[in-house]
């Protein structure tokens, strides 16, 4: 049972990676990374049960949290970029 789930997750991960590699837009990749993070968390949870050590669910929890912060960092990055670009544009227009 866990096995099937695990394999399914692996396949999803592979698909996410393909998207991350191919793009084409940056947003595709961001999304792919996000998906990939989620899947890793799931995989860990499943493997923890496979190993018979469910107490390792802690790890999966960490992954999920980290993943979320990562995505927010990316968003923040974009916001900074765009504001910097806007500023640059503004100075160019003035100059």
């Amino acid at each position: 049972m866990f096995l099937i789930v695990a394999i399914a997750i692996l396949v999803t991960m592979a698909l996410a990676i393909v998207r991350a590699l191919l793009g084409p837009s940056v947003y595709d990749r961001v999304l792919a990374v996000n998906v990939f993070g989620t899947k890793t968390a799931l995989l860990l949870a499943v493997v923890a049960f496979l190993f018979g050590r469910p107490d390792f669910l802690d790890l999966a929890l960490t992954y999920a949290l980290i993943n979320f912060v990562g995505v927010l960092a990316v968003l923040n990055f974009f916001q900074k970029r765009s504001s910097a670009a806007a500023k640059e544009k503004a100075t160019q227009n003035h100059g």
């Binding site: 190993f51 018979g52 050590r53 390792f56």
Partner: protein
């Protein structure tokens, strides 16, 4: 396990090669740092590979379970340290890159080199 025994080490060697290549051949300083991170990760993989014992589990002793086989705790401890060292190096490297960008206006090695050539 036989195959995996090889496979882990091969992946270690290949990752090492990829990281090393990025450090040497890439001119972009941030790319170099990424390469360095891959390079170090490869070594982490090697250490963790050797800690595995067949049929073993993470070396956290569970009450009431007897005759458990545990994997080796020592490489894990070493790699915990090494990971933190790696992050520290990366952070410091990034700080330097930021300063380079501020003073040279570029983070490409060859452009920086050219900027300092006597005119």
């Amino acid at each position: 396990m036989e195959v995996l025994g090889y496979y882990n080490y091969w992946v270690f060697a290949v990752l090492l090669m990829i990281g090393f290549y990025a450090v040497i051949a890439r001119s972009n300083l941030i790319k170099k740092l990424l390469g360095l991170a891959i390079f170090q990760s490869a070594v982490f993989l090697m250490y963790i590979t050797m800690n595995k014992v067949e049929g073993g589990t993470a070396p956290i002793i569970q009450k009431g379970v007897v005759d458990q086989i545990f994997s080796n705790p020592l490489p894990q401890v070493l790699i915990l340290t090494a990971i933190v060292v790696g992050v520290s190096t990366t952070a410091l490297g990034l700080a330097i890159v930021v300063r380079i960008k501020e003073t040279y206006g570029s983070i490409e090695e060859h452009e920086i080199f050219e900027a300092d050539l006597p005119k």
